[in-house]
């Protein structure tokens, strides 16, 4: 039967519509490939766009000029530098001259060649973006550039300062501290509550109407739009309990209620994966139910619970909408030192910056996004690592 496959006419199973059907199958496959390629290439384009926009913010332009430190220039900081530079250097840098002299009293009475921070318009010009600089100042900058007296330095301010109305002086620090305080409150509340609820539902609860109500309820809680939790925070925590507005306490509690269902669901899955033989062995040795759960089931389920909690934490870290409702978009120049002070968090700071008209805030927003996304990806990688490292096949 050597000619069996070649001859279509002699093949009784040959279907004339076969080519068409194969073509359709191919088209279907191509469509699904196109879909996944779109998703992945969007991700790459998007991350690339953020890096392209944000990378310049990690460098800031400085100019090397003479700065005179006398009693008079401390009182009138504008006078510390030559008149012609006044329009190009940063107001914030000049404003901090007294602080610098206080920290280093030897400076008084001297004139120093110093790297001075340039203002954001000049900085944007030097980075090749849209700028507003007068022609006279532009000439000065170009001349100084040829002498090598203008350099881009690593932008330390971004990591050591809080928000500022002067773009070149604004940084991410107070938002980072605010996020840490808020998430601390979130985890202190949500982790024990979530794990206890999961333990109750998996190990203790009987299958009655009450338990079913709790279960349905947790599923619904997970799908309530986040902005509505902000309404809850506003109406209950702030208006009813009188907690301080804009504080990490209120923000943390609001986020805790949102994180709760994520922790409960993952903790239940982890508890369920512990085989019953462990429990029965415990009972067989005369342990009580609490002892079995506390000493045997929980430790075995712990890696799984941690994985779920880290994922919940990373979701809470990126959440913005409810925090805007409870006022965590205030202007915060200094990092908060307690959970009762006004604070902002990383995503809320990004939202504030994104709404600013100055071009310099765009690169700062993108730089902040780079930081935030790196932290989130690291957290998720840690969660995946924990899951793989401690996963037990029973």
């Amino acid at each position: 039967m050597s000619n069996y496959s070649g001859s279509q006419a002699s093949n009784p199973f040959y279907d004339p519509s076969l080519n068409k059907r194969h073509f359709k199958a191919k088209a279907f496959k191509s469509f699904s490939i196109a879909a996944i390629i779109f998703s992945i290439s969007f991700l790459i384009f998007f991350l690339g766009d953020m890096v392209y926009k944000g990378l310049p913010a990690f460098q800031q332009s400085y100019i090397q000029i003479e700065v005179t430190y006398t009693e008079k220039t401390i009182a009138f900081t504008r006078k510390a530098i030559d008149r012609k530079y006044r329009k190009v250097v940063s107001r914030a840098w000049l404003r901090d001259i007294p602080k610098r002299v206080k920290a280093n009293p030897e400076l008084l009475g001297t004139t120093q060649m110093t790297w001075v921070l340039l203002n954001h318009q000049v900085d944007q010009y030097l980075k090749g973006h849209y700028y507003k600089v007068k022609a006279k100042d532009l000439k000065l900058i170009q001349a100084m550039q040829e002498q090598g007296k203008i350099e881009l330095h690593f932008n330390k301010i971004f990591f050591t300062h809080g928000d500022s109305k002067i773009p070149e002086n604004s940084g991410f620090k107070s938002a980072v501290v605010g996020s840490i305080l808020t998430l601390l409150v979130t985890m202190v509340v949500a982790f024990p509550l979530g794990v206890m609820t999961a333990v109750y539902l998996e190990e203790f609860a009987e299958d009655n109407r009450w338990t079913q109500l709790v279960e349905v309820n947790i599923n619904n809680l997970a799908a309530i739009p986040s902005i509505l939790f902000g309404l809850l925070g506003l109406a209950v925590f702030i208006a009813l309990f009188g907690m301080p507005r804009s504080s990490p306490l209120v923000g943390g509690l609001t986020l805790a209620l949102m994180t709760l269902p994520i922790i409960i669901v993952s903790a239940r899955a982890a508890l369920r994966s512990v085989p019953d033989s462990i429990r029965q062995a415990g009972y067989g040795l005369g342990l009580t139910k609490v002892q079995v759960v506390q000493d045997h089931v929980l430790p075995l389920a712990f890696p799984g619970i941690m994985t779920g909690s880290i994922i919940g934490l990373s979701q809470a870290m990126g959440e913005t909408a409810p925090l805007i409702i409870i006022g965590m978009i205030a202007f915060i120049p200094d990092a908060p030192s307690s959970i009762f002070e006004s604070a902002t968090v990383m995503p809320a700071q990004l939202f504030t910056w994104a709404g600013m008209p100055e071009r310099a805030y765009v690169e700062r927003t993108a730089a902040g996004i780079m930081l935030l996304i790196s932290v989130l990806i690291s957290l998720n990688t840690l969660a995946i690592y924990l899951r793989k490292r401690f996963e037990v096949k029973w």
């Binding site: 059907r21 194969h22 359709k24 199958a25 191919k26 279907f28 699904s32 490939i33 879909a35 996944i36 779109f38 998703s39 992945i40 969007f42 953020m50 509550l193 206890m196 609820t197 109750y200 539902l201 203790f204 109500l213 349905v216 309820n217 947790i218 599923n219 619904n220 809680l221 799908a223 309530i224 739009p225 902005i227 509505l228 309404l231 809850l232 109406a235 209950v236 709760l260 005369g286 009580t288 609490v290 990373s314 979701q315 870290m317 990126g318 913005t320 909408a321 805007i324 409702i325 006022g327 995503p347 809320a348 990004l350 939202f351 994104a354 927003t365 989130l376 990806i377 998720n380 995946i384």
Partner: protein
Amino acid sequence: MKPFALKNRHHGLKEQIIHFCLISAATVSILTTFGVLFSILFEAIEFFQMRSFWYFITGTEWSPGVDDSKFGAVPIFAGTFMITLIAMAVAVPIGLGSAIFLSEYASDFLRDKLKPLLEILAGIPTVVYGFFAAITVAPAIVNFFDSLGIHASFNSALASGIVMGIMIIPVISSLSDDVIRAVPDSQRKASLALGMTQGETISSIVLPSALPGIISAIILGLSKALGETMIVVMAAGLRPNLSWNPLEDMTTVTVRIVDALVGDNEFNSPDTLSAFALGLVLFVVTLILNIISISLIRKFKEKYKVNTL
């Protein structure tokens, strides 16, 4: 035997205390749901005592902050509907296509590499998507339509709709992928053995079997789109606009909630309380969608006896 007896003496009480603590913890989740519901409901009732409920759901003029302020939410619902429609038009084909590729065509190796990438997409904070929509997508859309000679707004519904759709892709693809994989392999094998192509097997055997789960995933994505806030706050407009043109600026329920509550309005003024009335609508709609989604996925689970979803 004595030490054991001593040790066990207080166990009755201790166990009871622990049991009580656990029940209390479980109650918190219930309290939260009712807390959300009642905190919104009471303020919304207060709003409807000041303003007509009928005008709220049928009126076409929304003008807070002025002396004869009007609260007709139809243009706001229309804007929400338009942006959600655009988002679903992007998310459903791409999310479903990705899920089909991952579950039916991809090798295990490729799947292990691609799935975490989609999870990254799911983990991106919405404020970041909003920034991307406002800074990159919206100007691109304006430029593109300008070159065609059509005017587009910088706050167009199209820009926020597209980006919102991309945000929802992983929601749809992840759940659909799980559902499609849960369809028993025997169905595929039977179909292939009868001479159907792989494409025909997927489109006329696997997908219909997985349909309840896929619809559940789409409804979940829909409810996410309705409740999404940051993308529309940053990229969509503030102006209530009753229009069919996606290139115009439009506003959504969530945008108006944020706008009413951010600012120095008095808490008990109708301007502020209108946010809670809108919030109530959002709560009820997403709750209904959610209940439908959960019951569909439960039916699917019972039919194929899977516990992993």
